[in-house]
């Protein structure tokens, strides 16, 4: 008698398996096929093009009812299997029991529905089958409809692009920092996001969905940060979950998926499984290539032919029209791994090849994927590419070919990109001047005024000259920012501003960085430039900060830290001193030192004690003194008119006010202030970055002093009559320094470069510019005027940041 085969699930893996089986052994089994969906097998990968209106359902059908009938397969579509009875060897469905000799489970997967309230409202759907697509298309027919896609992976983005194409207003919410983080690195993720945004899709990364709102039907999505997004449709595309219920109930071995061996057999020898519902070697698969491989193996196993499934390398292509993206390999693995990176900012191209032992183990390409199959073939073959390594990245057509163009980033700038911020000169004006005969920096300066003021953009102007004139112009060598780029600090800053670059991957791509993610030299600088330029948009990157700023404390040579609370204007109280003394006792602080900045330093604190000692000092009303930061350090004062018989103004009061305005701000290098109550200058204000000397008739504000490796007296910036003017001039100066100086240049170095007159023109002579500078400073401070100690002494931070990962010294000795 012919053996009975029952197959649960009529999806792609099941279809492929039946095609293989009926091909090699048409009469081996009497086959019954159960499918939950009331239709045959279609190409699920093509659901996105159907949603986009580029294909119809009929075009994606692979096995319809007639095909199954021709193969002699009994189809029971729309009839879900509710139970497997292994002892009786039959399955149970609505129509009763069906016996089997061999059973194949191919139940596939379901969308992972994130566990938030409202996730069961009508209008909240997954993206797995034709029913979902029909629901989405119905929603898209309503004019002005809004869709929120939860999940910025392959599926979510295909849905987003398709619904956007159908006229919906689409927002993509993604939990991670960049789109498709499993397939793409941040640089390619950035390019993809830029492309989608240019189509009008809103992308929010690091978005935590708190709840889905609505009464009868979904009408909004609420994020953790309080943002509310209107929504007529919510698509869950945050991942898939193997559909294993029927297997679990039957007592089969199930982990994340139904566990199978190399022959696709489950823990029951008469039950096999295939597709997205299985777990093989602790891996669950969601892409079609391995599923088809599994299906072929399973067909062999059913006719008792030995066969083994071997996980293949899987590549990814995003099916969004107009987006060229390719990714293959696992970047997360492998010691001794090297990267080759190619970026062409002008054409929005990014290519990266990951090598190990001169073999390609991963490829990420964006913008130009024409060579992807060439790389993929080399990867699959494990070919040794040692000989062609130098030109590998250029693909098959360029073997032995070109070098990357160091001028590409500047050449890529649009003509309306502002090159000179001082005089508002765009690239187009410079190019015009060149075509009118200007051939060097001086001529450009004379004709356009570009680089005629602070001079910070002169490097960029020269690059425009070089990219326009070609060989006719040689850029005078100025040191680039670091080994990752040919651009100078000033060039990079200008491009960040003029191109509105707001993330580090964006800067690295658009400026043509030659490294994958920067180095220890450029990352802290970029982090500062982005904070200074986009205080509200850019999120500070702790991992791009030097240890002291990351840990809000100064590292000492033995790995301990120093803790230094702020004493506003050098003023303290007995209560504060008691709290400091108590903390020193409680945490066994080995040294207590009075600093030159008029405050008290606790030296030698262990890292894991930092949050506790901070919490104690916070309790007593004290905050971080930022003695570790490229930011405001101290405002040193004398006692002024309060006590001193010579005092002319309230220097202490002014110092306290300034410190309360300026604290927490990030600057290119440290900033120290001094305020003296009379020309005797007891606060030594004239060797600070900013020094104020009070006199009978007002306040003398001077800047650009130094008392470090170099010793330099301040230069007079302004003499003002009122305390408020003194404050405004000071704040405007700090902001101008923040906006223009090179990272790690003290104020005196920067002033020497741009000239005091240039500074005066903005900070002193022009009240409008001064007010605008103060307003921009205040905007930034609305984010950064806060105590990092209070923020990071919470239990969560204690566990996640300050404590050791684990303590093996506590393990019993063996």
């Amino acid at each position: 008698m012919t053996r009975k085969l029952v197959v649960i699930g009529a999806g792609m893996a099941s279809g492929q398996m039946l095609e293989s089986l009926t091909g090699i052994a048409p009469d081996a089994y009497d086959i019954t096929l159960f499918g939950a969906e009331p239709r045959g097998n279609y190409n699920r990968i093509m659901l996105s093009p159907v949603l986009a209106g580029e294909k119809s359902y009929d075009e994606i059908v692979t096995h319809d009812a007639a095909w199954y009938r021709d193969q002699g397969i009994t189809c029971r579509f729309g009839e879900p299997v509710v139970k497997i009875d292994r002892s009786q060897k039959h399955i149970v469905s609505a129509a009763g029991v069906t016996p089997y000799d061999k059973l194949v489970i191919a139940t596939g997967s379901a969308s992972f529905i994130i566990p938030v309230s409202g996730n069961d409202l009508p209008g909240v759907i997954g993206f797995r089958d034709m029913d979902d697509v029909e629901q989405m298309l119905a929603a898209a027919r309503k004019p002005g409809g809004k869709a929120v896609i939860i999940g910025g992976g392959l599926l979510g983005l295909e849905a987003a692009a398709a619904l956007n194409g159908q006229g919906m207003e689409v927002t993509v919410l993604h939990l991670m920092g960049n789109l498709m983080e499993r397939q793409l690195d941040p640089a390619a993720g950035y390019l993809l996001q830029k492309e989608l945004e240019s189509r009008g899709i809103t992308v929010i990364c690091k978005a935590f969905t708190k709840a889905i709102l609505g009464k009868e039907h979904v009408d909004a999505v609420l994020l953790e940060d309080g943002t509310i997004l209107g929504a007529d449709l919510v698509v869950m595309a945050a991942g898939i979950r193997p559909e294993t219920r029927v297997a679990t109930d039957a007592g089969l071995h199930v982990e994340r998926g139904i566990v199978v061996d190399d022959a696709m057999q489950t823990s029951d020898p008469d039950i096999l499984a295939v597709g997205e519902c299985v777990e093989h070697n602790e891996t669950v698969y969601g892409l079609v290539a391995p599923l088809f491989d599994m299906a072929k193996v399973l067909a062999q196993s059913l006719i008792d032919e030995p066969a083994a499934f071997v996980a293949p390398a899987v590549s990814t292509k995003l099916k969004v029209t107009g987006v060229d993206l390719f990714s293959v390999g696992d970047f997360a693995e492998g010691e001794g791994r090297e990267d080759i990176v190619f970026r062409d900012p002008a054409r929005g191209i990014y290519k990266r090849i990951i090598l190990r032992d001169d073999k390609i183990i991963g490829v990420v390409m964006y913008g130009d994927t024409s060579d992807s199959s060439w790389f993929f073939a080399k990867l699959k073959a494990g070919e040794d590419i040692g000989d062609i390594r130098d030109t590998l990245i250029f693909g098959p057509a360029f073997q032995g070919g070109a070098q990357a163009d160091p001028l590409a980033a500047v050449a890529a700038l649009p003509l309306d990109a502002e090159i000179c911020g001082c005089n508002g000169v765009c690239k187009g004006s410079i190019v015009t001047a060149i075509s009118d005969g200007a051939t060097d920096l001086a001529a450009i300066k004379a004709v356009t005024k570009a680089s005629a003021s602070c001079g910070n953009c002169s490097g960029l102007v020269e690059q425009v000259l070089a990219s326009t004139l070609g060989d006719g112009f040689v850029v005078p060598a100025e040191s680039p920012m670091c080994g990752c780029t040919t651009l100078t600090h000033e060039d990079v800053r200008r491009i960040i501003k003029s191109q509105a670059l707001k993330t580090m991957p964006a800067v690295m791509q658009e400026c043509g960085w030659s490294s994958l993610c920067g180095c220890a030299s450029c990352r802290p600088a970029l982090n500062f430039y982005l904070i200074a330029e986009w205080p509200l948009d850019y999120a500070d990157d702790a991992q791009s900060r030097f240890v002291n700023e990351r840990n809000h404390a100064n590292i000492q040579k033995d790995g301990t830290f120093s803790v230094l609370p702020r004493m506003w204007g050098g003023m303290t109280t007995p209560d504060e001193l008691r709290a400091i003394a108590d903390a020193a006792d409680k945490y066994n602080v080995p040294a207590v030192k009075v600093t030159g900045g008029q405050r008290i330093d606790l030296l030698g604190v262990k890292k894991e004690d930092l949050p506790d000692i901070w919490a104690d000092l916070n309790e007593a009303g004290m905050v971080s003194g930022h003695a570790y930061s490229k930011g405001l350090r101290t405002v040193k004062t004398c006692v002024g008119t309060d006590f001193c018989r010579f005092g002319t103004q309230d220097s202490t009061g002014l110092g306290v006010k300034l410190e309360k305005i300026l604290w927490g701000s990030w600057t290119p290098h440290k900033v120290k202030l001094g305020v003296s109550g009379c020309p005797r200058n007891c606060a030594e204000a004239t060797c600070k970055d900013i020094g104020i000397i009070c006199v009978d008739s007002g306040f003398e504000v001077s800047v650009a002093g130094a008392a470090g490796m170099e010793l330099k007296q301040t230069e007079a910036l302004a003499k003002v009559a009122t305390e408020q003017e003194a404050i405004d001039v000071t704040v405007a100066f700090v902001q101008l320094y923040r906006e223009n100086a090179r990272y790690l240049h003290r104020a005196y170095k920067w002033v020497a470069k741009v000239g005091l007159d240039w500074v005066k023109a903005r900070v002193v002579d022009d009240p409008e510019q001064r007010a605008a500078l103060c307003a921009r400073f205040e905007l930034s401070q609305s984010v950064y005027r806060q105590d990092p100690w209070a923020a990071e002494s919470t239990p969560e931070f204690k566990e996640k940041k300050w404590a050791p990962l684990t303590d093996l010294t506590l393990e019993a000795a063996e």
């Binding site: 997360a332 693995e333 220890a520 900060r545 030097f546 050791p804």
Partner: protein, 111 residues
């Protein structure tokens, strides 16, 4: 033979960051790169014993916070003109958990 110890979840370490495991033989720094590679090195720069775990992680290297030596996370060797090497430990990631090979730590204890 390896002696794998489950020390933490991968996500307990920030990308481009590091945290330490305390052992009887001093701290071992566990690094996580921007691309989720994980490495384990003694937390002590070959130059002046700086805490490498506090350095900036870039690519598969770390820059020591004390005097900016750059150490390869893969080999423990100082890169560039500097010369020196820090001991490395085997480490691997399985199902989102970090496993550290404690063989060398144990061997050192016996020696």
């Amino acid at each position: 033979m390896n002696a794998w110890i489950d020390i933490a979840a991968l996500n307990d370490i920030p990308r481009q960051g590091a945290r330490v495991v305390k052992t009887r033989l001093g701290c071992v720094a566990i690094f996580r790169t921007g691309e989720d590679q994980v490495f384990a090195l003694d937390d002590s720069c070959p130059h002046k014993n700086g805490a490498l775990s506090e350095g900036i992680v870039h690519g598969a290297s770390v820059t020591c916070p004390l005097h900016s030596w750059v150490i390869s996370l893969e080999t423990g060797l100082a890169l560039g003109a500097d010369e020196g090497q820090v001991a490395t430990h085997q480490v691997r990631v399985e199902q989102g958990r970090i496993l550290l090979d404690a063989t060398r730590l144990a061997a050192k204890a016996v020696a």
